[in-house]
Amino acid sequence: MRLTLNGAVTDVEAAPGRRLLDVLREECGLTGTKEGCGEGECGACTVLMNGQLVVSCLVPFAQAEGAEIRTIEGVGDHALQQHFMSEAGAQCGICTPGMVMTASTLSRDATLEDIRIALAGNLCRCTGYEAIYRAIQRARAATSA
């Protein structure tokens, strides 16, 4: 099956019912995408599918045919990742790739409230979110400067 993976046209052989999450990790070697809850609640496995945020644990691989998939490995927004580090916007780190994927879709003028709403589907059980919001705000400020 053919799809565009982080910008490169890629052929992947996998059963159509497998979760996109498992195919990315086990067939494509892209282990940056993490499994948290496996029921679409936590957002750890968030990737972009045709430019839209999705939880890859709830995407049948069949539906990724012809799609453009972008994972944490291909997000390219290094300022965002730098600020997650410098603000300590992570503790255990399982939620971080998903957080970065979601944050990467926010516009430069996103308010704190916009950030909160956007991240509603990404759960972190360690940090209490404040450092994460700060990392995103700093990264947005840096890129718009």
Binding site: A15, P16, G17, R18, R19, D22, E26, G38, E39, G40, E41, G43, T46, Q52, L53, V54, V55, C57, L58, V59, P60, A62, Q63, E65, T102, I117, A118, A120, G121, N122, L123
Partner: protein, 270 residues
């Protein structure tokens, strides 16, 4: 790795006609955003093996205004609904409900038809469809029929949808009067409702509740009491006889009864 998922098959038709023919010829489970079905598969509670992927069907997508009705394709996502100017103009509480489903990731994938077909009494959009007196357009290879939303459910997770039928569109007749919607959950996002209420304030008020009965519930007798000039306290008394909430993981019967009364009072005072 979920090995059972390797056994699943997917038919992926490109047209509605093709999809309906496949559905006539063999038992297939329609799947769109997979936000409910894949939870069931991942946890082993859903045993289905053969799916009909309906995400390629253009005929199921889109929002239009036809005469006095807002028409929404069954495969339209919550994200599309919450950003639609037509929905916001005519049924703003449907946009509210869509924006309170899950988080962004779920809103991007989940569909209105899926919320209806999944038949959970807690479905966030369902009380809105109940107060809208929505009409469901169902198609099979041989037939088309229009079923009132308020006659669609026959029991807990039971519907009149036949195995060879698909929900094609959902029609919401326009209504005068102030619309009201409130979801009560443990947090603002990613929470299944403990209680969800939609209402329209007209001469004949319309009120519906979710998570208080085996199906989404239109409160006809409570509506009649309020229309007939009953006090709000008397109307709450009638409401208590119409609902049959249960104790479950998310809430208790006593809490749901108390909150249902409070929501009615808030709506009536709004």
């Amino acid at each position: 790795m979920k090995s059972a998922l390797s056994q699943l098959s997917f038919a992926r038709p490109r047209t509605l006609e093709e999809a309906l023919t496949l559905l006539r010829d063999e038992p297939l489970v329609p799947i769109a955003g997979a936000t409910d079905l894949y939870v069931g598969l991942n946890f082993g509670t859903l045993k289905a093996q053969r799916f009909l992927d309906i995400t390629r069907l253009e005929e199921l997508r889109g929002i239009s205004v036809t005469g006095d009705r807002l028409v929404i394709g069954a495969g339209t996502t919550y994200t599309t609904i919450m950003h639609s100017a037509s929905v916001r103009a005519h049924w703003p509480i449907l946009a509210d409900a869509a924006s309170q489903v899950g988080g962004v990731q779920i809103q991007n994938r989940g569909t209105l038809g899926g919320n209806v077909a999944n038949a959970s009494p807690a479905g966030d959009t369902l009380p809105v469809l109940a107060v809208a007196d929505a009409i469901l357009q169902l198609r099979s290879a041989q037939s088309q029929r229009a079923v009132p939303f308020n006659s669609f459910y026959t029991g807990y997770r039971q519907t009149v949808l036949r195995p060879d039928e698909l929900i094609v569109s959902i029609e919401l007749p326009m209504v005068e009067g102030k619309q009201w919607f409130r979801k009560v959950g443990t947090r603002a996002a990613q929470a299944i409702s403990k209680l969800v209420m939609a209402a329209v304030r007209t001469e004949a008020p319309r009120i519906a509740l979710g998570s208080v009965a085996p199906t989404p519930l239109r409160l006809r007798r409570t509506e009649a009491a309020l229309a007939g000039g009953s006090s709000i306290e008397d109307a709450i008394g009638v409401l208590q006889t119409e609902i049959t909430p249960i104790d479950d993981l998310r809430s208790s019967e006593a809490y749901r009864r108390a909150v249902a009364g409070n929501l009615l009072r808030r709506f009536w005072a709004s």
